[in-house]
Amino acid sequence: MLIKRKEFLQVGSLATASFMLPQFLKAFEKPMMVPPGNKVVVVIQFSGGNDGLNTVIPVRNDIYYKGRPGLGIAKDKAVNITDEVGLNPALEAFKGLYDDGSLGILNNVGYPNPDRSHFRSMDIWHSASASNEYVNTGWIGRYLDAQCKGCDKPTQAMELDDVLSLALKGDESKGLAFKDPQKLFNTSNGKYFKDLNANHQSGEETVDYLYKTMSETISSADYIYQQSKTHPTNEAYPNSDLGKDLKTIASLILSDINTKVYYVSLGSFDTHVNQENQQKRLFTELNDAVKAFTSDLKKNNRFNDVLMMTFSEFGRRVAQNASGGTDHGTANNMFFISGGLKEKGVLNAMPDLADLNEGDLKHKIDFKDVYATVLNKWLGADDKMILGKKFQYLDFI
């Protein structure tokens, strides 16, 4: 199995390895080396529906300022990156990334027949399904299914959270969720659970499935905890939740762990009321954490191998509401941050505010195009199989 694991990391496919029942009981004996160039994706989810228009601001668009007399961000307040485009004032470090050529902004990303319920729209993004389809697995989970049949560890995709998101649930394989390695280690390393695991005799299929999950969790917890300690980062991270999460992620990226996808959430961006302060606070947290993270990766020569991407379940309406906020909208922008971008800066046209659908932006790019691009070009995976059909590749990586 060890040899095959190396193959997975280098060739990116273990789809042929058969599922050996006794194998799961012992999980990994040795950590495996990660070859340089091991590509990693870090997904940052903006929960609650981030207001894209006050994130990437059309600073010369009258319609924008007309629709947002109180909430619009003036050109001289924004962090301007081009003559037409400014960023939210709290995203000062993103200007540095832009100047560096390590920031990509993709506008007008969405899907047909958008749903305005948080939960449902997030479901659609997580499962990469059409808005009238109900799919019980997520795009990263299905990536695990495709890449990892028979792998004895769910550490290929990890979420920094107590509860696992749909995005990371596959049919056979599922990602691993934990808030911090120490806590994971403590809760899954009870002596009783280890004893149970060691004494299990395989038998009925469902019981075995549960024991397999428990066994993987125990050994992964151990593995993650050990790995997280091997390269303690010297970088100063902010003491926010996201700061801590990105610090954990950085220390794992710098270790020998085999993780390909990290997943983390920030929120809530559901700014119906008093939007300015709430978005500012969240973006300050984002800005400071991303600043430390990118600097850390650069110093350790891993910035070219890491692609960070952000998304939200929907954007918000163009016009502000009566409470100093904005209501649920549709299409939105995404950030891509990496030292390895092929196309940089503002990747496509800003939203056309003169061509709206009942006050909402029309999407120009299906978010599944982005997934297909990341799966195929960054992770070397079979995007068609994972997404169920062929989507258009983009050129930013």
């Binding site: 929960s47 948080h118 961006f269 559901d270």
Partner: protein
């Protein structure tokens, strides 16, 4: 080896209800499964008492609040809207807790279990406690009745009509959402009708809506009364006609029967048995009680492959623990927290398709939490898990919600009535005690070896021994199965 009487009876109680309860778990050796089934039927025969929680919402309904989560324009101020939404969410919490109490304490085990099945089959997610309360009552009243009535009443409920946007389904401007799901999820299942059938059916459902009192209303002016063709039949159909056409299809009986088989018997459907059951279900005019009787009185239901091989849903898990261990929860928030972190909150299904179930319940974090819950309840461990934000519920107020949750994290514990729990084993000798406890707690064929278990048991007293044995047995992967 044939299954013991106890195992069979517990199997029936787990599948047709929420597991054995402390008060009568001792009697399960003697009773025959046929008699137990008779008891289950008898105790579920009465009309259920309504769970009423919605407060001041009628007022909101009169003001035109159709879906309080998405109130946009009406005469209410922002503060009033917010207040109604918050009230409604609080009511929904009460509805959740009180229904869960019914599942745990009611003698009508079969009815409540059946209702939980229909709650997932006719899944709606609307933040209007009045609508949800009414739909729940419809479901509980018809859970063991006739599927035709149930389908019709649910289809006409404001909860379903608003969730699937049928208020917007009008002549010449059809909204197909409701028509599509009626076919795909409620009756026939995907692949048994065409896109055109959906389009035509949607026209028949035009004009189906509800008024401000939360009552079904047929709006003649919005109804398209021209001719439609649905599943090969042509006529000036109404919505009721389309439901009749769907119920005439044998495929509907088959689809429902298969889902019931997978829910109550085994995740892997046995095609021959489903065929036999569904033919009878169809011939019996969709009598749900008769279908369940066919299942629960069959010999194959008690076959080894069907016992102890199904993953409990979070609700089944929690209710099952609380039935065997009578307890007073320290606070209600903790109960919701368990549901949230384990992935099944009553009245908040993931989407109209309901909870997928089976292996979907299990991932590394949900499994580890499941294994720790008995420890948390008995105060050997603390609840330190944060659920995800749900902005449909919390409306961006994550910080407040987080604070509330922090306050309850130490409150996951309960006062367990160990005296009552220990009574189950009153007549059991010390030598046979561990075996008997394991046989009562677990449904799986094999389980943790006694030698391992004994290392973790408290021998200080008989009660401590029983207590530590139950808690440890519940903290196993085997206990996740029924």
């Amino acid at each position: 080896m044939a299954a013991s009487n106890r195992l069979k009876n517990q199997h029936l109680l787990w599948r047709a209800g929420f597991g054995p309860m402390a008060e009568n778990a001792a009697d399960l050796d003697k009773l025959s499964s046929k008699d137990l089934w008779g008891l289950l039927l008898k105790t579920s025969a009465k009309k259920p008492e309504k769970i009423e929680v919605a407060q001041n919402l009628i007022d909101g309904l009169y003001k035109g609040v159709q879906d309080v989560a998405q109130m946009q324009q009406n005469g209410l101020s922002n503060d009033q809207k917010k207040q109604i939404r918050e009230q409604s969410r609080d009511d929904l919490k009460n509805l959740n807790i009180r229904w869960l109490e019914e599942m745990i304490n009611s003698e009508a085990q079969l009815r409540e279990k059946m209702s939980l099945f229909w709650h997932g089959h006719f899944a709606t997610r609307v933040i209007n406690s009045y609508f949800q309360q009414e739909l729940l009552q419809t479901i509980r009243e018809n859970a063991l009745g006739n599927f035709k009535d149930l389908l019709r009443e649910v289809s006409k409920s404001p909860s379903m009509l608003s969730f699937l946007n049928n208020q917007q389904n009008r002549k010449k401007k059809p909204n197909e959402n409701f028509a599509r799901e009626v076919m795909e999820l409620f009756t026939m299942g995907r692949g048994n009708y065409t896109e055109n059938d959906v389009k035509e059916a949607a026209r028949a459902f035009t004009g189906w809506g509800f008024n401000l009192k939360g009552e079904f209303e047929f709006r003649k002016m919005q109804h398209d009364d021209d001719s439609k063709t649905v599943l090969g039949k042509t006529g000036n159909f109404t919505g009721d006609d389309v439901l009749d056409i769907l119920l005439e299809q044998k495929q509907t009986a088959k689809f429902i029967t298969k889902k019931i088989y997978r829910y109550f018997v085994n995740d892997k459907a046995d095609d021959a048995k489903v065929e036999w059951l569904s033919n009878r279900f169809y011939q019996n005019g969709y009598d749900i009680k008769k279908l369940m009787e066919d299942i629960f009185t069959s010999d194959w239901f008690y076959e080894e492959k069907n016992i102890g091989t199904k993953i409990k849903s979070p609700i089944e898990l929690i209710a099952g623990i609380r039935r065997l261990l009578p307890m007073e929860m320290e606070n209600d928030q903790a109960q919701l927290l368990f549901q949230k972190t384990l992935g099944q909150i009553l009245f908040y299904p993931p989407n109209v398709a309901g909870w997928p179930g089976g292996k979907n319940w299990i991932d590394s974090s949900s499994l580890m939490l499941r294994l720790r819950i008995p420890q948390i309840l008995s105060a050997n461990d603390i609840m330190d898990i944060m659920p995800k934000v749900d902005d449909d519920v919390q409306g961006g107020m994550m910080e407040m919600a987080a604070k509330k949750i922090k306050e309850v994290t130490r409150g996951g514990t309960a006062k367990i009535d160990w005296v009552l729990a220990a009574k189950i084993f009153e007549a059991t000798s010390r030598e046979k005690l561990l075996q008997k406890i394991a046989d009562t707690v677990l449904q799986t064929k094999g389980h943790v070896p006694d030698t391992l278990l004994e290392k973790y048991l408290n021998n200080a007293s008989r009660e401590n021994f029983i207590k530590s044995a139950i808690i440890n047995l519940m903290s196993t992967p085997e206990y996740q199965l029924c």
